[in-house]
């Protein structure tokens, strides 16, 4: 009688095996993915009437249906877009308003980075891959200039600083300190990248 009251011990030796099996299942199915991409702001639907701009302050880039590029009506290779954009943005044509520009001071190109606008237009047949490549090169041009100024002023690269600023794990005090710096650099080279056509 007393023997039946005592319940037999559960054999736990195989628990580890079962847990291992589950572990391997979850290991295989897990993808720890964080998406990344190019952030962009679309223009508002009913924008304020545009500020008057000078033709020399606009760099027009067009992509046609065969994925060929035109820069101000001249054909151009996609590899040259970045250097051309940098030369345009960093030109400092009016020689006084941009004391940090290191460009050629060409009077027929942009006055200063604050007014320089890059306009990117495409046809309906343009492939998305090409479009993203051009977008990426233009963002690259801005980043290169911003990095240069950031290195000069704060001895860090702008992209690192910005990523650190956006990182959710950065403490608030550091963020507030970084905000000023990020804003300063962004003001020096504002991202004037138009997606829409301008007439």
């Amino acid at each position: 009688m007393s023997k039946r009251l005592k319940s037999p011990e559960v054999h736990a030796g195989s628990m580890a095996d079962i847990a291992f099996l589950l572990l391997i299942f979850f290991l295989v199915t897990t993808t720890i993915e964080t998406d990344s991409g190019l952030d962009r702001m679309l223009p508002k639907k009913n924008p304020d009437p545009p500020k008057p701009f000078n033709e020399r302050n606009v760099l027009r880039i067009a992509i046609n249906g065969e994925n060929q590029l035109l820069l101000e009506d001249n054909p151009i290779g996609i590899e040259d877009i970045k250097s051309k954009a940098i030369a345009f943005l960093d030109n400092g044509g009016d020689a006084k308003s941009c004391n940090y520009c290191k460009g050629a001071n060409d009077p027929t190109s942009s006055d200063n980075p604050l007014e320089a606008i890059i306009s990117l237009s495409n046809t309906r047949e343009t492939s998305y891959g090409t479009y993203i490549t051009v977008q990426n090169e233009l963002v690259g041009a801005y980043n290169e200039l911003r990095n240069r100024e950031s290195q000069r002023l704060y001895k860090v690269s702008f992209t690192d600083m910005h990523a650190h600023y956006l990182d959710a794990n950065t403490p608030t005090e550091t963020k507030n300190a970084l905000r000023e710096k990020v804003k300063t650099i962004q003001k020096m080279y504002p991202l004037n990248l138009l997606e829409a056509k301008i007439k």
């Binding site: 580890a16 572990l23 199915t29 720890i32 190019l38 508002k44 977008q135 090169e137 990182d167 959710a168």
Partner: protein, 160 residues
């Protein structure tokens, strides 16, 4: 002296494996919690282009996804080969994008509604025409923060 010498010397004690299940369970729980089962199965080709100047999309709670691409082989008989817009589990027309985005934003907590980003996951062979239409729809509903989701890599590989 013998007090110290009576320990057995020579043969090593066996390593105790009693804590092994605990360690395995710990790992198991970790992976169970971080695993996200894919919620929507894509009916379109979705090979994203590469880009190098990318920023991470960190907070997933404020992102609305829109997938665009050509229908997969097995769906082409029904849906044709022209690029389609897929959200959640269904194809939608261009005109429906605005209302979908608004309702998706409406489902988010109120504090996040202003911060919502629209992530465009577009196949690299898609044409810009459809994407321009989608951007126009997004402008109509004032969802202006977008992100062209890409892989990190060499951009010139997009052209091949």
């Amino acid at each position: 002296m013998s007090k110290f010498n009576n320990k057995k010397s020579g043969d090593m004690p066996p390593v105790s494996t009693a804590s092994l299940p605990d360690i395995v369970f710990m790992l198991l729980f970790f992976f169970m919690t971080v695993t996200v089962m894919k919620s929507d199965d894509l009916r379109i080709e979705n090979v994203l282009p590469n880009a190098s100047e990318v920023k991470k999309l960190e907070k997933k709670d404020r992102i609305v996804y829109i997938h665009i691409g050509q229908p997969r082989k097995e769906y082409q008989e029904v849906f044709g080969t022209a690029s389609r817009i897929q959200v959640n589990d269904k194809f939608i027309a261009v005109a429906e994008v605005g209302s979908y985005v608004l309702s998706a934003i409406g489902e988010k907590p109120e504090a996040l509604q202003r911060l919502v980003t629209i992530a465009l996951k577009v196949d690299k062979n898609a044409n810009m025409g459809l994407i321009d239409d989608v951007k126009e729809e997004l402008r109509k509903v004032n969802a202006l923060k977008i992100n062209y989701t890409t892989y990190e890599g060499d951009v010139f590989a997009n052209l091949k």
